[in-house]
Symmetry: C2
Subunit: 484 residues, 2 copies
């Protein structure tokens, strides 16, 4: 355990970047490693990833997606095959040049994503329309050599799932890409209690090799955007390059249409940034590794102490039986204040304090992590009471996140106004844009903002207005923000 008394942590409101690093390390979500830009995911952080897997995996499987595992190392010739794809990933590749004590005659790259290694094989597996749709997913690690790294948010190695599907028609592929996007949105809202934007990426922000990229964007309290998941309509680009084909019902050879979609451990960084406060993490109950902690307040006499711990263990048993992930803290070697700080740092949703006073009155104090609200209950009603707090807190966190998203999304009618916003209180800014990459480049250079998404309900070209950046014709409003 870290010694939290050693150093005060930065304040979120004052320096969110410093605060973020402090929290991630001191709540023991992650640690730095001996590998440049790679982190260690510690058990408390990894548990959140396990909940993510346990939630998403059954959704995938219900839809007929099957898990598989493809090699980590990709022959260089394979990743070269799709030109745009190679160009997109080339600066970030880690290359294996020696193995088994010898210099290799041809190099391997450590997978930055698995399209190329998978699709070479898909070409061998797919023959007939009867083989389609084919839906494969893998939970794995990928490596992208990043220059500047932050724990979870951008690391040289990260964990993710990558879904890859093959369909007879492009319409079906688009449907699949949107379904994956919907899974991600639902996951963030229902489990992480984070309201997000879902939409289409601009050409400039599209995945290397895709026709269309759909994305989930998270609104961080500092007004910046975190791309939190992507889903791609690959059209028949890779199918052409890797010669994937099938015989249709009429016996005619056709190229199929593909999708790929992924969500990574980056999500955990978003969780920290959105919900945390100056006291540390705030864990949404549904994904909290520990949902309730019973802090036993020490008694001086042995008899009283025995009574206390027996009582606490009884409460613990009740909560566990009720399906609430509960820990009991009897660490009397530290002060009560220290112990409370510790559990707040870790963002445990409900803290239950039990001392001799509580037993005498059979009145137990519960403290809710997000708003520090105190409530009293008896040993008989403790399970229902804690359950209720967990449910309410989960809902309240989402409501708060929705409010935050709403407040941090503004509209601008001129580029001057846009720049003023980016220079003061950064936000998501919704503006009419001509959709030309030239504007995007200029805006990025001058304000650090880039187009994030065109929201799904704004795809239809309805407006007839002018681009706030160049004055040319614009028919849709896009969301811009500075990206993490």
């Amino acid at each position: 355990m870290s010694d939290f008394t050693k150093k005060t942590i930065a304040k979120k409101s004052e320096d969110i970047a410093a605060w973020y690093n402090d929290i991630v390390l001191r709540a023991e979500l992650a640690d730095y490693s001996a590998v440049k830009g790679s982190m260690i995911i510690r058990p408390y952080g990894y548990a959140i990833w396990e909940y993510t897997q346990k939630t998403l995996d059954p959704w995938f499987k219900e839809d007929g997606v099957e898990n598989a595992y493809f090699p980590l190392l990709i022959p260089y010739e394979l990743i070269e095959k799709e030109k745009e794809h190679l160009e997109g990933f080339s600066p970030e590749l880690a290359v294996v040049t020696h193995a088994g004590g010898k210099k290799l005659t041809s190099n391997y790259v450590v997978r930055p994503t698995s399209e190329t290694i998978m699709y070479r094989t898909f070409a061998e597996w797919i023959h007939s329309y009867r083989d389609l749709p084919m839906k494969i997913n893998q939970w794995c690690n990928v490596v992208r050599w990043e220059k500047r790294t932050y724990p979870f948010l951008r690391t040289s190695e990260f964990l993710w799932q990558e879904g890859h599907t093959v369909h007879t028609t492009e319409l079906e592929a688009i449907g699949m890409a949107l379904k994956a996007l919907e899974w991600y949105k639902r996951f963030y809202e229902e489990y992480f209690a984070i309201s997000v934007y879902a939409g289409i990426k601009s050409k400039r922000e599209t995945f290397a090799g895709a026709k269309t990229t759909y994305a989930i964007e998270m609104v961080i309290p500092d007004g910046k955007a975190l791309q939190a998941a992507t889903s791609h309509n690959l059209s028949d680009n890779f199918a052409n390059v890797f010669d994937i084909s099938f015989l249709d019902e009429q016996g005619k050879k056709q190229h199929p249409f593909q999708t790929s979609w992924g969500l990574s451990t980056r999500s955990i960084g978003g969780l920290v940034l959105v919900h945390g406060d100056d006291n540390g993490l705030v864990m949404p109950p549904k994904v909290a590794p520990v949902q309730a902690v019973i802090v036993v307040i020490g008694a001086k006499e042995e008899a009283a102490q025995t009574k206390l711990q027996t009582y606490a263990m009884e409460i613990h048993k009740q909560l566990i039986a009720h399906g609430i992930r509960t820990k009991i803290d009897t660490d009397f070697s530290h002060s009560l204040g220290y112990r409370i700080n510790e559990w707040e740092m870790r963002g445990v949703p409900v803290r239950i304090e039990i001392g001799s006073k509580e037993i005498d009155k059979d009145s137990i104090t519960c403290v809710r992590r997000d708003n520090f609200e105190k409530s009293q209950t008896s040993s008989e009603t403790i399970s229902e009471h804690v359950s209720e707090i967990l449910t309410t807190m989960q809902a309240d966190l989402l409501t708060k996140s929705e409010k935050n998203k709403r407040e941090l999304t503004v509209e601008a009618t001129s580029y001057d106004e846009f720049k003023k916003i980016m220079n003061s209180k950064r936000s998501f800014i919704r503006v009419p844009w001509c959709e030309n990459a030239v504007c995007e480049e200029k805006v990025k250079k001058e304000t650090k903002a880039t187009s994030r998404v065109l929201e799904l309900d704004r795809i239809k070209k309805t407006e007839s207005t002018t681009c706030v950046f160049c004055g040319k014709k614009a028919s849709r409003k896009w969301l811009f923000a500075q990206a993490y």
Copy 2:
């Protein structure tokens, strides 16, 4: 789907190696990849790995083991630190020399195992006896560049779990190493229905850097041995090298004692080899991705066909409701014989055949995969009947495996006899051995056999006899066999 009519598969009894490769590919457990020595684990094979994870992971967690994730890439300087460890793995390392478009100033190896990258960090995490025991596990991929590879059994990349624990005393560490060994033994027996040997490895076969290696050895029907899991007492070797220390209760600085233990996707290869037959895989019911398949026999008239499929779907619903993983096969584009071959190839424990005749008499035929035993039941009793078959078959497979192990384990009283056995019907051979590596080297060269384990119940030095290889004093009998 592969076309099973294209090529007949090799016979297990005639050429087990060719048979193994045929089965693995054609039952779609795995496929070859574009990466030398690496395979693709296909959904049907990966599902077995998922059952392995779902079984072992809760056992680990109940014991206080926590999952985490450490970096894939290990700085070369770190792996160099423990000399024996480096020497053990050096010939098999894959090395990253370039990343982010540049030649690296110092290289990384792709983890062959994670002792070195983890223990550097353990030194930072551990301060006091209160931090111990510390128990960390990770499910991940590792790379060992092998010269000769076989799907699952020996591949350049494989999936595994690696548990790493730290203890205040060596006794506790030994207890932990043995507990892990017991988990593996139980898993193989209860889930894979494979009777195994558990014991201690000779010095020559000990893990690079360990004091003692415990192992699970599987007896393959060809008389060869498959090392199916290992568990190491690392003593304080790594703790000394990586300077891991803790203050004991008296405030004195001490080095802790460590263990590591792992089970990999190699286990799936063992499953295939032990239970499969000339018709394909035989899946033990507990880990079978599909436990029962309903093969609907086509009818010529639409009315009869409708009746058939309605009836089949009703049976399907019942079995699913009963918790039996069931598929329904209505692929009328292939012959019944082809379909039966297909499900036999995949080793599905129970095949249920439903045709018009069956409906008329309400008498359903069930065929057990391992012994092709047929039985009849009615639609009312189908779930109980199939459950019973699954339970019986699981038990029978273990009994058969026990018998196979017993029959393929012999004793030899002279080296001549030993050689005769290895030259005819290969077996596990239990012999008194002086425990000197010189004998082991000689025996390996002359017979291909190596010492596999000293069984746990034979550790005590009780016998006073002579080594069958050199005639010197020997006090314990070891198991020798040719390893996979």
